[in-house]
Symmetry: C2
């Protein structure tokens, strides 16, 4: 498919480049060309038979898609079912018993529901950790979603052998799906299992991702068990030799911050989840000043409960301002960088970060003609401080338009999918619905 976007404002997210008016051409899943109206190439401008589709952007904004760097897509069944509860009660009383009844088929449909929501929020790729990665991968493949699977290995399910076979399977199969080594958390894996993960990481030269220091309690527990804080304990096993990162990282110590900086480990922050589960505020502004790369995730729909990068972006800047009691902390442009460019890098998707020639065509069209985007004085600030998923006109992944003005183009009847997921919830709750 050759697609021409014209009459657009364009935010490429290249460093130092402001929004400009121009065109963007897509060819076979990649961006062929991006240029300003003052710099049009010969032969550009008019309609031409070379285009399969021409989109008049009507002076709205093209920008890179948002990268949701931590989620559990299959958990949509828990939305509004396990809220307003203390963490342990939430996990043990609600999440685990229902999860025990999930089938791979359930996860496939529940992940598809999450993909619809990503598209409404302009999210073009995710890092997903959940039970049965194959089911999530298939859901993403069938709908056209770009997904980095990461293992949720722990001492109770799965194994390092299985992770290795998944790694080899999903890093070959399709350009939309990638796979990262990982494990659930230091408190759900034995030391022996973690040593096996480290060994595999060395053999594959692959980075490792995990939940890390989400709550004070888990930090204390690991210190008591191993005599080291979680990040230092994992590093002592060699788990971060080839990089990787941690989800949440609310409670990193001074030494762990230095470790993250030195090794270039990603902090993937999940502010809505950290509030809703009363975990705390990750000191993201400080991480950024120290040179630790930060990306943003929604976490799963059980703990957030929505999959909306606009809400997360506002929270990243707003909570930094609160935490540092300084309204100048963490400006909007920096947050936008985390949510797009640095998110792509955390995912290892180096060709999905910017709007420039040769990059994958993962992009969104943002409606500037809604009252929350007016007047137009500073577009990045408009996006972060007053933007909303209601401003997402189009979401394109790998050169395909999957969402257009409220309609999904994902080869799936949306009403049927809603009914299917509602049926799964009914079955899990045993109410015969």
């Amino acid at each position: 498919m050759n697609i021409r976007f014209f009459n657009a404002r364009i935010l490429t997210m290249e460093e130092g480049r402001d929004v400009f008016r121009g065109e963007l051409w897509v060819k076979d899943g990649r961006i062929e060309r991006v240029f300003s109206e003052n710099d049009a190439p010969d032969g550009a401008g008019g309609p031409s038979p070379r285009w399969d589709k021409e989109v008049d952007c009507e002076d709205n904004l093209l920008m890179p898609g948002f990268k949701d760097a931590h989620t559990h897509s299959g958990m949509t069944f828990l939305r509004s079912m396990a809220d307003d509860l203390p963490l342990q009660e939430w996990l043990a009383g609600k999440v685990f018993p229902l999860e025990a009844r999930l089938t791979g088929d359930d996860i496939y449909y529940l992940a598809k529901l999450a993909v619809l929501e990503y598209l409404t929020s302009g999210i073009t790729s995710i890092i997903d950790m959940y039970l049965d990665p194959a089911a999530t991968a298939q859901a993403c493949l069938d709908m056209g979603m770009r997904c980095v699977l990461v293992s949720g290995l722990n001492s109770f399910t799965s194994s390092v052998q299985q992770m290795e076979s998944e790694y080899k399977r999903w890093n070959q199969k399709d350009g939309l799906i990638h796979y990262c080594l990982g494990f659930h958390a230091p408190y759900t894996c034995s030391r022996e299992l973690l040593a096996e993960v480290a060994d595999l990481s060395w053999r594959l030269h692959a980075p490792v991702y995990t939940h890390l220091s989400e709550t004070e309690k888990e930090v204390e527990d690991i210190k008591r068990q191993y005599g080291l804080t979680p990040g230092l304990f994992l590093d002592s096993l060699g788990l971060f030799r080839y990089g990787g990162g941690g989800y949440h990282c609310v409670y990193l110590t001074e030494e762990e911050k230095e470790l993250f900086r030195k090794r270039g480990l990603y902090v993937i922050t999940n502010p809505a989840s950290n509030l809703k589960l009363a975990s705390g505020i990750a000191p993201v502004a400080e991480y950024d000043r120290r040179g630790i790369p930060v990306a943003i995730g929604t976490d799963g729909p059980a703990s957030n409960n929505c999959l909306d990068m606009f809400r997360e972006m506002f929270l990243v800047t707003a909570l930094s301002k609160l935490q540092e009691m300084d309204a100048s902390s963490m400006d909007a442009g920096r947050v936008l960088y985390f949510a797009t460019v640095q998110g792509a890098h955390a995912m290892g998707l180096w060709d999905c970060d910017l709007l420039s020639a040769g990059k994958r065509a993962d992009l969104v069209l943002i409606d500037l003609k809604q009252p929350n985007m007016q007047p137009i004085h500073n577009i990045p600030k408009n996006l972060v401080y007053s933007g909303s998923k209601a401003n997402v006109l189009m979401t394109m992944i790998d050169g395909k338009i999957l969402y257009w003005k409220g309609d999904f183009r994902v080869g799936e009847d949306v009403g049927r999918l809603y009914a299917k997921c509602q049926g799964i919830v009914g079955r899990l709750l045993g109410d015969g619905r």
Copy 2:
């Protein structure tokens, strides 16, 4: 206009009443009847010539509109122009110099822009404090918005005489517009001026509203100046004898909390603004437990920067959970009550609170058929934790549909209004646009 909404789910917000399926009838600006499908009155059900319009809600949700209990509509011109700055630099360096160049005509158009945004977020009434209340009132009247004006009296502009004449003018003119006594803040009014306000309040038996204890600094300043914390100082002048309330109330002391409870004063919380300006977190869950009535406001677009009650609702519950480090703090249903019923009461709009016969028809239709609202397990939790303005299908005020599936029905060309406001910004900045 007689309008029949059928095939709806209905959340009346009456205490103890769950969502049910049924119909709602509107007649001449008021709700004529609300009933469940199991309880239909004789002759109900079919099309009939008595209806001017029949709306098939397609199993989506009718509920009371949101009440934005603190805003400054005319400040839309400052969106994305004064962010990421410390508070004093923000006020003195950006806000005041630009405001000095505003005309009443400017405020009229800028307030109209804000009204469009309220409608997209399902907001059916506002408490508005800004320069030139007449301009804001006219904007609301011309567009059909319900507005409670509140005086922003201070020692530099306006006077108590003017407030009295505004009070008399706007509480007679039109059912859509009301007027409350108020003043900007204890730190911008002299003691003499405040005593005059108290005197007027006693003569009119009228409640008084003001910014109160938004920052630690202002609390300390007032204590130094008057030997009392702001709430107690104002009460010592008799300002709260007839009720009223405070915007923000981040730093109320123990004695002030007791004062608020005893006098039934409203705390109107503005969580996004308090984060963005690094003011702090108001202890709303504690206020609520003590029996202090809480309502929610967006604050103005200069300090938020959007006018979106979904964002505020999430923040009220999420920040309570953080502040109390307890995920069970402040459940969703309570927040929804603040944002609708108690907001209406804070405004003195006792006939705009619930969906029941005889109440004003200020209501919204919420799209449940978007992925963020699926599966449907608990609708109030869906609204507060995963809802978004993108779910607002319709906003009706006083029986008139003003917003319907993205289109505004407000007698105003939206593109022309955007251009007008953009022009005002250009003129204020002196760039000749």
